[in-house]
Symmetry: C2
Subunit: 197 residues, 2 copies
C-alpha cells in the first residue's frame, strides 16, 4: 500500500499484536488514538507502562499483584487453596463473595499434545505450599475440559499421599439453562449429585 | 468486584475506551500487556504517543499526515479532487493504483438528525481549494448511504455554479456478488449504467 503515514502504520502494527485483533480493527484503534487529545494518549501510554512495570506474580499464589504477596494471600485462609489455570479465573471466583480461602494459579493446564508437561506449570509451587502452610483442603477449579480434568486428576494423585482433602467444583446445570439443551454428561452428573430441597 | 489490582484495573479502563471494546475484551488486552516484556510495552506506549504527536491534518486536503502538506497533495494532480468522508476512505482509494489526483477529507457527512450541518464538516475548505487550485473535476466518493448521498448532492449544488465538473463513483454490482442477493436499487442502477463488452 503506497502512502501510508509511517507513525500510524507503526501504531497499527502494535495494535495488531493484541489477541484477536486483525488489521481492520487495529486501524480503527489507531484512528481513535490519533483523534484523542494529546493528554489522553499520554495517560493511556503511561497507564500501560505503569501496569506492566508494577504488576508481577504473587510469590505465594502466582496471581498478578502489585505487592510482594497479594491481598488475597495476605488476608485469606491459607489452609484452603483453590487451584485455577489462569489469573483471570481468580477474577471470576473473587466475584463469589463468600469464599475466604486463597488461590493457586497454575499458569496453564497439562496438555501433552502441545508439549505442556507438569514441569511447565506451577505444580511444584503448590506442593511446597501444602507442606509449608498446613493446607487442609485443595479445591480443583480447572475448567471441565479434557485438559482441565486431566490436570485436576494428576494433581489430586500427588496430593492424596500428603493427606490433603482434594475437592472439585460441582458440575450440574447452569442457572438459566434450558434442560433440553444440556449435554448428556452434565445432565448425568447433575442427576447423580442431586440435592434434596 | 473486590481485590482487583489497581494498575490492571486502570489499564482495563483505558482499553475499554477503544471503539467496540467491552470489559471482557479490555481484560484480555490488559493481560496480554502484563504478559509482554517490559521493552515491548515501552515500545508500544512510545509508538502510541509518537503517532499522536506527529500526525495531524494536512493543511490542504485534511487527511492525516506527519508533514505540513501530505504526500498525495505534494505529488498528485490538484486539479482533480476526490471527496471522501473520513481519512480511512483515502486509504481504501489509495489501494487503487491508477488514480493520480488528490483528495479532500470532509471529516463527517451531513446528518441533520445528529445535528451535523455544513459548517461542521470541511466543505468551506473544499470551496476554497476549487478557487485556488483551478480544480477541473470533483469526484464525490462518499458512501452510497442516505447521509453520503445527501452530502454529495449538497456539495455538487455548491460546485456547479463555480463551473466545476462534478462526478460520482459508479454504482453497480460488486465483484464476486451473487446477482440473486443484490438489492433492487443497486441492480436498477447497474442496469441503467450497463456497458458494452
Amino acid at each position: 500500500m503506497k502512502n501510508f503515514i509511517l507513525p500510524i502504520e507503526k501504531l497499527v502494527a502494535s495494535f495488531s499484536k493484541l489477541p484477536g485483533v486483525g488489521r481492520k480493527t487495529a486501524v480503527r484503534y489507531a484512528y481513535y488514538i490519533i483523534n484523542s487529545s494529546n493528554a489522553d494518549v499520554r495517560a493511556f501510554a503511561e497507564t500501560m507502562v505503569n501496569a506492566k512495570e508494577t504488576v508481577h506474580y504473587c510469590s505465594v499464589c502466582g496471581n498478578f499483584t502489585d505487592r510482594e504477596i497479594c491481598e488475597v494471600c495476605t488476608r485469606g485462609d491459607r489452609g484452603l487453596v483453590c487451584v485455577v489455570a489462569e489469573p483471570k479465573d481468580v477474577l471470576a471466583l473473587e466475584r463469589v463473595s463468600d469464599y475466604n480461602g486463597t488461590y493457586h494459579v497454575l499458569h496453564g493446564l497439562l496438555n501433552p499434545l502441545e508439549g505442556i508437561t507438569p514441569n511447565d506449570i506451577h505444580i511444584k509451587e503448590l506442593l511446597d505450599r501444602v507442606g509449608k502452610d498446613h493446607v487442609r483442603e485443595v479445591i480443583m477449579a480447572t475448567s471441565p475440559t479434557v485438559e482441565g480434568e486431566a490436570t485436576a486428576i494428576y494433581i489430586s494423585n500427588l496430593l492424596h499421599p500428603l493427606g490433603v482433602k482434594v475437592t472439585r467444583l460441582a458440575q450440574g446445570v447452569s442457572l438459566g439453562t434450558d434442560i433440553e439443551y444440556v449435554d448428556e454428561v452434565t445432565l448425568s452428573r447433575a442427576l447423580e449429585d442431586r440435592r434434596e430441597i
